[in-house]
């Protein structure tokens, strides 16, 4: 379980996150949705500690993350996997080296054991023979899959995904969504996905939090979202012409 209480984040005097309190369920795929610039990436990065929050507290299970020192935070971060919007693979390293890096730094495994784990993760994301490729040689979908493999290599308890579908075609997006959902269930990970893709919401969303203008505007399940009377949420969910027609026929 991940809990944020009264989170405030201020950039240059502007409250980008304003008193956001959220609870993300353990072992589920939790979604943060909202328009571009609504503050969802700032919320995600605040939860993992990449942004220091100005007010409030963040809890990982019962551990108050915001009150931990540098070393204790580092220890918690080893339980966190994160998939960034652009993949954030190290350009100068091969796929294998990218995935192996956390193993090299934080485990005492032999090279054979590490390679076995790397190959297992690559196979899990359906990229069994990509070990020696560089990020520049990969497609957008492959980069995301390698990022997933790197995120799960240390068996994390928490998985954070920042717009994992951005820049991908609808088919590949579904593949990535399903992969995230399968991994969440398989390893009982608490997953938080940041997205503005309604397909993702309907495919994998178990708990959904809607952020609007830096505030938590709505939360519920994917079944509730279609029947909400929240105007801002409806504007977001039914923004496309196709969605509007579908709503009219409901």
């Amino acid at each position: 379980m991940i809990r944020g209480e009264h989170i405030v984040k201020i950039f240059d005097g502007r409250r980008v996150l304003d008193d956001v309190s959220v609870l993300f369920d353990a072992g589920k795929t939790n979604l943060i949705i909202g328009r571009s610039g609504s503050g969802k990436t700032v919320l995600l990065k605040s939860l993992v500690g990449l942004h220091d929050i100005d007010e409030g507290n963040i809890y990982f299970d019962d551990l108050c993350y915001t009150q931990l020192g540098f070393k204790e935070r580092k220890a918690v971060r080893k339980d966190i996997g994160m998939i960034f919007q652009g993949g954030a693979l190290l350009d100068s390293s091969t796929v294998e080296d990218n995935i192996r890096l956390p193993l090299d730094l934080f485990t005492e495994q032999s090279l054979e054991e590490k390679l076995e784990r790397v190959n297992f993760c690559l196979k899990r994301v359906n990229l069994p023979n990509a070990n020696k490729l560089y990020p520049a040689e990969l497609s957008g979908g492959m980069i995301k899959r390698v990022a997933i493999a790197r995120a799960i290599v240390l068996n994390p308890k928490y998985l954070f995904c920042d717009e994992p579908n951005s820049g991908l075609d609808p088919m590949t997006s579904i593949v990535i969504d399903n992969l995230i959902k399968e991994i969440t269930e398989e390893y009982n990970i608490t997953t938080i996905v940041n997205t503005h893709d309604m397909n993702s919401v309907m495919e994998i969303g178990e708990k959904i939090v809607f952020i609007h203008e830096g505030r938590k505007w709505w939360e519920g399940t994917k079944h509730d979202i279609l029947h909400s009377d929240n105007r801002e949420l409806n504007d977001f969910v039914f923004a496309s012409a196709m969605a509007k027609r579908a709503k009219a026929n409901m």
């Binding site: 993992v48 080893k78 960034f84 730094l105």
Partner: protein, 247 residues
């Protein structure tokens, strides 16, 4: 002034993070070797080319300006040696490397910052500042003095070549001048200087890259700032170290 002090404070804080205990020495050792090749070994060419031509030009200028029967011709070799050892092989080579290596470091780390690669390292629990900057600093502080020695040798050789091929002086006179009043302190002074300059170039460029923000345009600006700041720092520390060591 306040902005300068704030930047200096951030630089010091970053350095304290850079020199905190590494996660695993073996990984850092490999990275230091890699950086030695990337930042040091790959700079041999430019250092050698510039040194040979500068040595030749210094010898020519000395020969043209010391046309007097009262001044021994061997003084040309002596002056070339002193110029190459005291200033060129450390300060001028460092200024050139600030352009080549400094911009490389700032743009590499800056690109990693804006493409969230540094965030990815942090999330893995890695001290990104130490992992990215420390191996570069260690590699350059160890390797640049070797470049300096190479520059001294090649520069002096350039002078000997021009003396021999142009006939402006006898090569034997040039060699006599090279060995005249040779003091080891000059070499030590030069090597200490370039080791300090190596630290300045790498740490300042790493600092500007690490705190790059925005887009590729900002990375370019950070790279330029890194070169300018490194060059100014080299000139200031050149003055300080000369005062401390030679006077």
């Amino acid at each position: 002034m306040m902005k300068f002090l704030e930047t200096l404070g951030r630089y010091c804080l970053l350095m304290s993070k850079v020199f905190s205990r590494p996660e695993k020495w073996s990984i850092y050792r490999n990275r230091i070797m890699f950086e030695m090749e990337a930042l040091g070994y790959n700079s041999i060419g430019i250092a050698a080319i510039i040194s040979i031509f500068m040595g030749a030009v210094v010898t020519l200028q000395m020969a043209i300006n010391l046309e007097s029967p009262f001044i021994p011709r061997s003084l040309i070799g002596y002056a070339t040696r002193e110029t190459m050892i005291l200033e060129f092989s450390s300060t001028v080579v460092s200024l050139i490397l600030a352009g080549k290596v400094g911009s490389n470091i700032a743009s590499e780390i800056g690109t990693m910052r804006i493409t969230e690669q540094i965030d990815a390292l942090e999330i893995m629990g890695i001290n990104s500042a130490s992992y990215l900057i420390m191996p570069k600093i260690v590699a350059t502080v160890l390797f640049f003095p070797l470049l300096s020695i190479l520059s001294m040798v090649i520069g002096v050789f350039g002078g000997w070549l021009v003396a021999g091929f142009t006939g402006i002086m006898m090569p034997d006179d040039y060699v006599d001048g090279l060995f005249y009043d040779f003091r080891i302190i000059s070499i030590i002074y030069s090597l200490v200087k370039i080791a300090v300059f190596a630290f300045l170039i790498t740490s300042i460029s790493g600092f500007f890259g690490y705190y790059a923000q925005g887009n590729s345009l900002e990375v370019g600006r950070s790279s330029t700032k890194a070169v300018v700041a490194s060059s100014i720092a080299i000139l200031i520390f050149n003055l300080i170290l000369t005062q401390l060591i030679l006077i």
